[in-house]
């Protein structure tokens, strides 16, 4: 052994061992990195629900058994062996940020929208959801990434139960997986944050590695990463769960241990057997479970059209929320929100253009034109004006209304604005490219006007003109 060590060190002396790259390494096609969504958290006021269960963490007895006891962790012994289990119950009136856990039961049904295309999907209810969140030893869904902690949560009568399954060493994994399998029975949905691409694929691999064979995806997914991205991608700096909960769910975490630090803490535990530093990982994971419940409430109530919270100030977020609702099949609620948005917002923010594009697509020309005109008005006064609305209007008047004069008016205004913009840009900027396009549009409009066939143009002609607008 010592001979080998010497030889290794000698050989490595010649070629320094390749630096262990700390960045995530993944197979390119599949991996949404878990930790990308799970970075540093924040500190401040702790939430009421969590505070109760966490209070015990801060004592100072140093024996190992005492340390586990302080973490409220017990050994679980089953047919497949043993592992550790921490079980915490929360009352339904416990508050977690803006929401109270008891809201879950009335809100859950509306989550059916996630699987509206699947006629066999059962109606979601507080009783058939299983919240899930893993803490793993590495990144990606490769076979060497081991979940050392499996957090699950579910409603049981008048309680909301969080269970955290923890392995003292990898040989306990089998027993833990067997327990998880039992817990999944009788549930219909896995509720996760990025679980479709991370948590579940990791677990599916672990079941195979531990000889359980291929697990069919018996449970359907409610993966809240996707709606979070749809709604907040432009208004929040990150869609990490901890960031979303802080900014939108009114949750503040105190002394949070970021998920990215969890592997190192676990490795230290494996080396020295001291459970104390794991307290932060248990706490982090438990808060994640509670936040998942809060998100389920938030999305359920949004989809149910009965969210009482004040509307966010950002027009952008309001518009994205409505677009998401529309995508999820809640068209009426979406339309109500579009109307309120256009009525309540005075000017036309960055939200207006995507909304106008949506309206154009569904043929709601009335509102699209109003929005474009608002945007165009603002553009006239901007130092670095946006040209899109003018061009949309020029297209609208040329092809739909066949009012060539109006079309030319907007195109000429667009040309003016493009020139103003080009003055601010370096050579090769986009304004010059726009300018060329606008000028050829103007030429075409002039040609049409001169031929006098603008308003009577044949079908073929019109189609070719449109082809120019939609390459």
């Amino acid at each position: 052994m010592s001979g080998l060590r010497e030889r290794m060190l000698r050989l490595r002396g010649g070629t320094p061992a390749p630096e262990q790259d700390p960045r995530p390494q993944t197979e390119p096609d599949v991996d949404e990195r878990k930790t990308a969504e799970d970075g540093p958290g924040s500190s401040a006021r702790e939430t009421a629900a969590a505070a109760a269960s966490m209070a015990a963490f801060d004592s100072t007895d140093h024996s190992e058994a005492a340390a586990w006891a302080r973490l409220q962790v017990d050994e679980h012994v089953g047919e497949q062996g043993s592992f550790l289990l921490r079980r915490v119950e929360h009352a339904l009136d416990a508050r977690h940020g803006l929401h109270v856990l008891g809201e879950l039961a009335p809100a859950a049904g509306a989550l059916a929208a996630f699987h509206r295309a699947d006629p066999e999907a059962p109606l979601p209810s507080a009783d058939n959801l299983l919240f899930l969140d893993l803490e793993t030893t590495g990144l990606g869904v490769g076979t060497g990434n081991v979940p050392f902690m499996v957090g699950i949560a579910y409603a049981a009568g008048e309680r909301f139960v969080v269970e955290q399954l923890f392995i003292r060493h990898p040989a306990e994994e089998r027993a833990m997986l067997a327990y998880l399998e039992q817990r999944m029975q009788g549930r219909s949905y896995l509720v996760t944050y990025n679980g479709k691409t991370f948590d579940w694929p990791v677990l599916a691999g672990r079941y195979i590695m531990n000889g359980f064979g291929r697990r069919r995806e018996a449970l359907r997914h409610l993966d809240f990463l996707h709606p979070s991205r749809s709604i907040w991608r432009n208004t929040l700096t990150s869609c990490r769960l901890s960031h979303v909960e802080e900014e939108r769910l009114g949750i503040r975490r105190e002394h949070d241990v970021p998920g990215s630090e969890a592997p190192a803490i676990y490795f230290r535990y494996l080396a020295d057997g001291d459970p104390a530093p794991l307290a932060g990982v248990f706490r982090h994971n438990e808060l994640d479970m509670l936040s998942l419940a809060a998100l389920a409430i938030r999305f359920g109530r949004l989809l149910g059209g009965e969210l009482q919270l004040p509307e966010p100030e950002h027009g952008e977020e309001r518009m994205r929320t409505a677009l998401w609702l529309e995508k999820m099949g809640a068209s009426d609620e979406a339309e109500r929100r579009y109307e309120r948005l256009t009525a309540e917002m005075s000017g036309a923010g960055p939200w207006a253009l995507p909304l106008a594009a949506r309206d154009k697509k569904v043929g709601n020309w009335r509102r699209a034109v109003v929005l474009w005109q608002k945007i165009a008005l603002q553009a006239e006064e901007a130092a670095a004006p946006c040209l899109d609305a003018h061009i949309e209007l020029a297209m609208y008047y040329e092809h739909r209304v066949r009012d060539l004069k109006a079309a030319i008016r907007y195109a000429e205004a667009a040309e003016r604005l493009a020139l103003r913009r080009a003055g601010l840009e370096r050579a090769g900027g986009s304004a010059r490219a726009h300018l060329t396009a606008i000028r050829s549009r103007l030429e075409r409009l002039q040609r049409k006007t001169n031929k006098g066939n603008g308003s009577y143009g044949g079908q073929a002609h019109r189609r070719s003109a449109r082809a120019v607008d939609r390459p």
Binding site: M1, R7, F267
Partner: protein, 761 residues
């Protein structure tokens, strides 16, 4: 001969003319004719699935060549097989037949194909799909590589009958995610590895370990696939396959494919300066011969050894036949061309639209370009195996073909042209791998542990596994509990481990004289002495000065200059022997093999005036020192021998001898010439005597020096033959080196030393 156009009616007629042309024949050192060979066939095996038999007959295959037949029977009998046959002998049927046979009987079965490059993989899929269509069966064959769109990956994992990929992809994407490939690993019946000879040296040693991992994963899923391999002709195909795969292998080499008559012509360019031993440029002679062939309308392939030479020859040839042939009819082909362009060139060659192609060894592998009529090799390709592979590109089943080998002034080329019997009588080189190189092995043990925990009693490779696992556990990479070793690290080990050797990383030389264009490239190990800052770099006779060497980015920026000096850099090489593993003493010579460390650092450079060779200045070189721990072989002359010569005489003699030995060493090794290095020392630290060291240019060694240690006697004999038969007076670049380097008596000193060495054997 058409007397109006000067074009011969056939290749045979043209060759007769060439034989009567003294201008050419004076330079031909050997004209070897391999007679035509008739096909040897067997009836389609009775066990062959009727659909498969019908599909073959439909493509005009009514019988099998003997090697195809034997491979089929051997695989049916449960053996692992390596088929060795020349280019264009229908070797793909050797593996496709048994695989398709099995899939026709069992739709759930799976096969995994490995090719060294993506292009070969794509060819293969096209061929398999044709056969499947002919059989009207739904056989899903897919490539799985970096270009595979994410959307189809899941389908391939679950439903692909035949997955065609490369070792790198297997290493970094498939094995570490094996739980997504359950269907494949549970049902895999065959693993097909083509171009087996390509897996040698460092790359081969890595691949052998990837295969160890692959077998381990298959065992986990309860499958034990058979291996079916194909290889070009090498000296040790069975041994190589067995080392690479770690299983007993049956050799199939009774080639039954027909071949037309084949002419092999060795051509040595005329000497233009007898005293300095300088011959006319092999590039110009290659251009002349290839030009003649192209004007005769003979479809011709030209192989050159570097990318730069490919471009140069391409330009020359296009100019030469301008007006007679369109520019699109002569093309280049090398790594660095985009896949789409390569496919277009391959198609053009098959259809005959493209009449000439100049290629690096990229076309040596089995990419389908049909069969050409003539081949011109610009320089000896480096190994007997490669030479036959490249020459095999010309040769039809009927009619004659010709290969010209145009020698360069490199000693190895000169040896081969002057000793054709060596080339024709000797088996090709041995493919060497060293899968238990400690650094390579431990890298793959990490990957293997990531894929599946190790258990008590497991084995992996030739080193005691337990020691390695304990070492990794101490390094906190693995965790030992309940009799198993688990991967316990955040990283993904396969991403830090590349299967391909570092020697392939070249420095690019960029000329800034007007704009910026790539002038050429220099291998990593020569860079410190050739393209250090202020060096004068010669390219096609033009002087360039290096203005900036960006060492981390591997780029040198040069500008054209006109100066009357050249630069000569001093490389301080320190070599320490750490451990002697083998040792033989015979008379005045002691030879040993063991572990060494090498420290190399470019220290200073001298400016030396042209013609007068006076030293007119010098400067420092600031580049990092390189340290290497590897295996080496060395031989030392006795103190008595040392006493017979002055220090400077001995230095010249050793240097001359070393120059020759390093050039002919590749005769015994199937390796890149840069993988093995030589260092002569007048008074070595270890032996205290005049010593010549060889070492493997890879940490831990890959078995090259060890092989040289074994063939020591033959190596010295060849060296003596080469020096003795060289036509120069007192040393030239084709033997011991130019007189500027080894002195006026270098050649005779080296011969004396060799005589002493051989006498003492």
């Amino acid at each position: 001969m058409n007397r109006w156009t000067g074009v011969a009616d056939s290749l045979e007629e043209w060759l007769d003319e060439v034989r009567r042309d003294p201008q050419i024949m004076n330079q031909v050192t050997h004209w070897h004719t391999l007679p035509a060979r008739a096909a040897v066939t067997r009836a389609l095996p009775s066990a062959l699935h009727p659909k498969l038999a019908a599909a073959l007959r439909g493509r005009g295959v009514g019988e099998l060549y003997t090697h195809q037949h034997e491979a089929f029977e051997a695989v049916q009998g449960g053996a692992n097989v390596v088929a060795v046959t020349p280019t264009a002998s229908g070797k793909t049927l050797c593996y496709n037949l048994p695989v398709l046979q099995s899939l026709l009987h069992d739709d759930e079965g799976r096969a995994l194909y490995l090719f060294p490059t993506k292009a070969l993989a794509q060819d293969q899929v096209a061929e398999l799909q044709e056969l499947a269509t002919a059989m009207e069966v739904d056989l899903k064959t897919h490539t799985y590589d970096g270009d595979t769109p994410p959307t189809v990956r899941t389908a391939i994992r679950n439903a692909g009958h035949i997955v065609v990929t490369n070792p790198d992809m297997l290493h970094a994407a498939i094995l570490p995610h094996h739980t997504k490939w359950v269907k494949l690993f549970e049902n895999v019946k065959y693993i097909v590895i083509d171009e087996l000879h390509a897996y040698r040296g460092v790359f081969g040693s890595h691949v052998a370990n990837v295969i160890r991992r692959l077998k381990r994963i298959c065992r986990f899923y309860g499958s034990s696939p058979q291996f079916i391999c194909a290889s070009a002709t090498i000296d040790n195909p069975r041994e190589h396959a067995e080392r690479l795969l770690g299983v007993p292998v049956t050799l199939v080499d009774n080639n039954g494919a027909p071949a037309g008559e084949k002419h092999f012509v060795f051509y040595n360019p005329p000497v233009v300066n007898k005293q300095l031993g300088i011959r006319r440029s092999s590039v110009l002679e290659t251009r002349r011969l290839a030009g003649m062939l192209l004007r005769q309308g003979v479809q011709t392939i030209v192989f050159a050894r570097s990318r730069v030479r490919v471009e140069l020859l391409l330009t020359y040839l296009q100019e030469q036949v301008k007006g007679e042939l369109g520019p699109k009819t002569i093309r280049g082909y090398r790594g660095g061309y985009l896949p789409k362009l390569r496919r277009e060139i391959e198609r053009g060659l098959r259809s005959g639209e493209i009449r000439g192609v100049v290629s690096t060894n990229a076309l040596e592998l089995g990419i389908d370009i049909g069969q050409l009529q003539a081949c011109v090799l610009n320089g000896y390709p480096g190994t007997i195996a490669s030479t036959w592979q490249q020459s095999g590109r010309a040769g039809r089943r009927q009619g004659s073909s010709v290969t010209f080998m145009v020698a360069s002034s490199n000693p190895l080329d000169q040896y081969i042209t002057e000793h054709p019997e060596f080339f024709f009588n000797r088996p090709p080189e041995r493919a060497l791998i060293h899968p238990d190189n400690l650094l390579i092995l431990i890298d793959h043990i990490k990957c293997a542990a990531y894929e599946l925990p190790f258990e008590e009693g497991d084995t992996f490779g030739g080193e005691p596994l337990r020691d390695m696992l304990e070492f990794l556990a101490e390094e906190k990479v693995l965790h030992h509990s309940a009799g198993r070793w688990y991967w316990m690290e955040q990283s993904f080990p396969a991403h830090n481990i590349s299967l391909r050797s570092a020697a392939q990383e070249n420095f690019i030389i960029i000329d800034l004289t007007s704009g910026s264009r790539v002038l050429g490239e220099v291998d990593r190990f020569s860079a410190p002495t050739l393209i250090h800052e202020e060096a004068i770099y010669l390219h096609e006779g033009v002087q360039y000065q290096v203005e900036k060497l960006d060492y981390p980015e591997k780029k040198a920026y040069v500008r054209e200059v006109d100066v009357d000096y050249f630069t000569d850099a001093n490389l301080a090489v320190e070599l320490k022997v750490l451990h002697v593993d083998k040792s033989v003493e015979a008379g005045e010579l002691e030879r040993q093999y063991g572990e060494v460390t090498v420290n190399a650092k470019a220290t200073i450079f001298k400016k030396i005036r042209l013609r007068t060779h006076e030293n007119i200045g010098s400067g420092p070189i600031h580049l990092p020192e390189e340290e290497l721990h590897t295996s080496g072989y060395w031989f030392a002359f006795s103190e008595a021998a040392a006493a017979r010569k002055g220090t400077s005489e001995m230095q010249h003699a050793l240097l001359g001898l070393a120059n020759v030995l390093i050039h002919i060493a590749p005769l015994y090794l199937m390796c890149d010439p840069l993988d093995i290095r030589v260092v002569p020392q007048v008074k070595a630290v270890h032996t205290k005597r005049p010593t010549i060291y060889f070492y493997d240019r890879y940490p831990g060694g890959i078995g090259l020096s060890e092989r040289l240690y074994d063939v020591h006697g033959e190596l010295l004999r060849r060296a003596r033959e080469l020096i003795a038969s060289c036509t120069c007076l007192s040393g030239c670049p084709a033997c011991v080196g130019p007189i500027e380097e080894v002195g006026l008596l270098g050649k005779s000193h080296a011969l004396e030393l060799l005589a002493e060495a051989e006498a003492s054997r």
